[in-house]
């Protein structure tokens, strides 16, 4: 009787361990806490394990939309110093039946970022062996940024070309006008007066000796 009672008491954990160790539906988990957090790294202990089991139960609940999943459904074994272990998920209805691998994988995939955040880790440092992380969606731009920069540069170059060519044209035009203007000026002065004065190039005039002081001629 006593043996039977003892067996009953110790059987579930033994069975549980067997379920976990020998199962094909288990996943190995690796945590690299020191790599991720450095000096702020927390120690891995029973409470952390408790948290892990509860997040997994949460993930299963969310994925199957069944509120029956409990922490007791998550069985853990092969704990190592690395901080790696194997876990399996038992069905809430039947403790001896394991949830298939695919379902667990789906649950983990959907909620990976929640699980990561609970432990302050990332996809690299919280590894589920066999479940590759889903990669971030590629950023899709409406217009590629390089086209925008290209447009700006080409626009500046076009403005530069137009400005320089215009300045050349206007310089040539001004030079032509100046040449035409000078010749016009010359003709004007000749036409204006028509006298010998114009030939002096616009100076004040000729020294008219009639009104000068001609002492030099009469002095004795």
């Amino acid at each position: 009787m006593l043996a039977g009672v003892l067996l009953l008491i110790f059987l579930p954990p033994l069975v549980a361990k067997d379920l976990c160790k020998d199962s094909q539906d288990g996943f190995k988990v690796r945590l690299s806490i020191k790599t991720a957090l450095g000096d702020d790294a927390y120690e891995w202990n029973e409470s952390e394990m408790f948290l892990f089991r509860s997040t997994l139960a949460y993930a299963m609940r969310k994925q199957t939309k069944q509120d029956t999943y409990n922490i007791t459904n998550i069985l853990v074994c092969n704990d190592t110093q690395r901080v790696s272990f194997v876990f399996v998920v038992t069905s809430p209805d039947d403790p001896d039946q394991l949830i298939p691998k695919e379902q667990i994988e789906e649950a983990v995939r959907q909620n990976k970022h929640r699980i990561n955040n609970a432990f302050l880790l990332s996809d690299m440092t919280l590894e589920f062996v066999g479940i590759p992380p889903t990669l971030a969606a590629p950023i899709i731009y409406d217009t590629e940024p390089w086209l925008i920069v290209f447009g700006v540069v080409i626009g500046a170059v076009a403005v530069g070309i137009v400005a320089l060519l215009m300045s050349t044209v206007s310089k040539k035009r001004r030079a032509k006008e100046k040449a035409a203007g000078l010749s016009e000026e010359d003709e004007g002065t000749v036409k204006e007066n028509g006298t010998a004065l114009s030939g002096l190039g616009g100076k004040e005039g000729v020294y008219n000796q009639t009104f000068s002081n001609d002492n030099r001629f009469t002095e004795l």
Partner: protein, 607 residues
């Protein structure tokens, strides 16, 4: 030592203006012939022409591979013995004879016009492929305005399960360079079609060049204030940034560790000579042209020495900066490699974190190897060797577009460093292109092939347009192979031949008293491509040899061909007067003298 040998050169004194004539010419030409606004513009243009991409991505590699600090000895010796004299020669003939490269050789001896034409052809061909590299630089520059940089991570494949396989097998930077930029085909025969983004970048590069060269030195003289000075600023910024990064000092140590045994290796001296020669952009005709716009009284010997010193110092400075960044990248790679191995070991043996560190890694490795060799073999740990990382892909386009871009992705604020780096490369390349365009436009004007009344803008525009049209071949999938071909054959052999002819012409036909130049006869394969990652060697198809002949042979053969042509024409043609009337005289002095009755002293007698 006076060289007694001087080949007969009839009519030389009539063709070379005397100093008195030059003074007069300078005053008369003040309006017509372009002139430098000030000495600074001239110096900056020449420095910009000489200091180019080679200083940044060829010299550091040569320095490191030929015994580090010891390489300075042949480099500096040959700088003085080879660089300064050749530079002085080109400056002197340009300044004295006041013409572009064709005009200068016509003045020395009309049979030598072929040398000028060869210079023009080489400038044209080198300019074509050099601007393509600038187009690639611009592509990277355009793509630097985003975070994260497109070459920092592999793109995700269609169903988002992993990265694109081609990228995973190599690396994100390699993928971006070979696939996203070049889209290379496996062989040169496979054209791969035009890559429209490269065509756009080429268009941008050529129009930008045209804007800067629009009115010849009038516009380039302003542009060089930026393009020649900005690289030094950026190099300094990178130096400061580099020295604050981890592992940079190991890079500099790797660069300068002297190995004096390398000095006994003849290839060290040949490489140093070739580097000095190509770095000075000699035999392109551009330097002759630039110095012809100087005042007659300019001290060109001093200029030659100053520019040589600046060029040499820039090479060394750039090498320090480059290798500090390479040291940083190599250290990062080494650390990543080691961390990867440590993780593998910890996972395999379920050891707690922190048990294996960099310091006890080696001892741990040995311990594990002895205790559990089977598992150890299975692990396939990567070999992490610092020396390998330091010597990876450190010259040519491999340095700029693969190694350096990878280093930049590991720095904080990567887009900023990327923009700065590619602006620097762009400025270095553009200022060299100014000289190249000048080396084509000035001879074109001297040869009088195109109508005289066409303004300078049309000349430069035509050159840029034709070059752009032909450079489209580099925008194909196989463009990289074509570029390597051009680089190896269009730029190397013809330049050596032209420089040799220049030296011989000035020494023996013009008659200079002494000539101390050491010329390297090495046919140097100035290949820009580096085997990184390791590429397959494929043999060229047969028709490539025809292309090679065109690239190397035509400029070289032009020299004797033109001499022969003139000889035949002289012998066969009827009257000398018909010749003289046909020869267009566009220098003012000629115009003044032609109608005069007495043409005894100052006639220009074309032979």
């Amino acid at each position: 030592m006076k060289l007694k040998l001087k080949l007969p050169n009839p009519g030389l004194d009539e063709r070379i203006p005397s100093h008195a004539e030059l003074e007069k010419l300078e005053l008369e030409e003040a309006g017509e012939r372009p002139q430098w606004d000030n000495k600074a513009q001239y110096m900056l243009t020449c420095v910009g022409f000489c200091v180019g991409l080679g200083n940044v991505w060829r010299f550091p590699y040569l320095c490191q591979s030929h015994g580090g600090g010891a390489f300075m000895i042949p480099f500096l010796i040959l700088l003085v013995l080879e660089g300064v004299p050749l530079l002085h020669l080109e400056f002197a003939i340009g300044q004295r004879l006041r013409k572009g490269s064709v005009g200068v050789w016509r003045s020395i001896n009309p049979y030598l016009v072929g040398v000028g034409i060869a210079s023009m052809l080489v400038s044209f061909m080198v300019g074509m492929y050099y601007n393509t590299i600038i187009a690639w630089v611009m592509w990277y520059f355009f793509n630097s305005f985003q975070d994260p940089l497109p070459w920092s991570q592999c793109p995700v494949n269609e169903n988002r399960t992993g990265f694109v396989s081609e990228c995973e097998r190599s690396s994100p930077v390699d993928y971006f360079w070979y696939r996203k930029t070049l889209n290379t085909t496996p062989v040169i025969e496979d054209s791969g079609g035009l890559q429209w983004w490269i065509v756009l970048c080429l268009f941008c590069a050529w129009t930008l060049l045209w804007v800067c060269c629009l009115r010849g030195i009038e516009t380039t003289g302003k542009a060089v204030y930026v393009t020649s000075t900005l690289p030094y600023l950026v190099l300094t910024i990178f130096l400061i940034r580099g020295l604050t990064l981890k592992g940079s000092v190991s890079g500099i140590k790797f660069l300068f560790t002297p190995d004096l045994d390398e000095l006994l290796n003849p290839s060290t001296w040949l490489d140093a000579g070739a580097q000095v020669f190509y770095s000075f952009s000699l035999a392109f005709g551009g330097l002759i042209s630039f110095s012809s716009y100087n005042s007659v009284h300019n001290n060109c010997e001093q200029d030659a020495v100053i520019i040589s010193i600046i060029n040499g110092l820039t090479s060394i400075y750039a090498a320090i900066v480059i290798y500090s960044i390479i040291g940083f990248r190599a250290t990062e790679r080494f650390d990543d490699c080691l961390d990867g191995n440590i993780l593998t070991l910890m996972n395999a043996f379920d050891l707690p974190e922190g048990n294996i560190t960099e310091s006890n890694y080696d001892s741990f490795l040995q311990h594990l190897n002895s205790t559990a060799p089977a598992i150890f073999q299975e692990l396939q740990l990567k070999t992490c060797d610092m020396q390998t990382f330091l010597s990876q892909g450190v010259e040519g386009t491999g340095l700029a577009f693969i190694v350096f871009t990878e280093a930049i992705t590991k720095m904080p604020f990567s887009p900023l460093w990327s923009v700065l780096f590619f602006i620097m490369l762009f400025c270095l390349g553009l200022s060299t292109m100014f000289g190249s365009v000048e080396g084509v436009v000035a001879p074109l004007q001297d040869l009088n092939i195109l109508p005289k009344r066409w303004p300078k803008e049309v000349y430069t525009g035509l050159v840029c347009f034709v070059s752009f049209g032909l450079a489209i071949i580099f925008a194909q999938g196989s463009g990289e192979y074509w570029l390597a071909l051009f680089d190896s054959f269009a730029g190397s052999i013809p330049l050596l031949i032209i420089a040799f002819c220049e030296m011989m012409a000035v020494a023996y036909i013009y008659g200079i008293d002494s000539n101390h130049v050491l010329l390297s006869h090495d046919i140097h394969d100035n290949c820009l491509q580096e085997n990184f990652p390791v590429l397959e060697t494929k043999s060229y198809p047969d028709w490539i040899y025809a292309i090679i002949f065109i690239l190397s042979g035509v400029p070289a053969l032009v020299i004797p061909a033109v001499a022969l042509f003139r000889l035949i024409r002289k012998r066969c043609c009827a009257t000398e007067e018909k010749h003289m009337a046909a020869e267009p005289l566009y220098s003012i002095s000629d115009k003044l003298q032609i109608p005069d009755a007495d043409r005894s002293t100052n006639t220009r007698v074309p032979v």
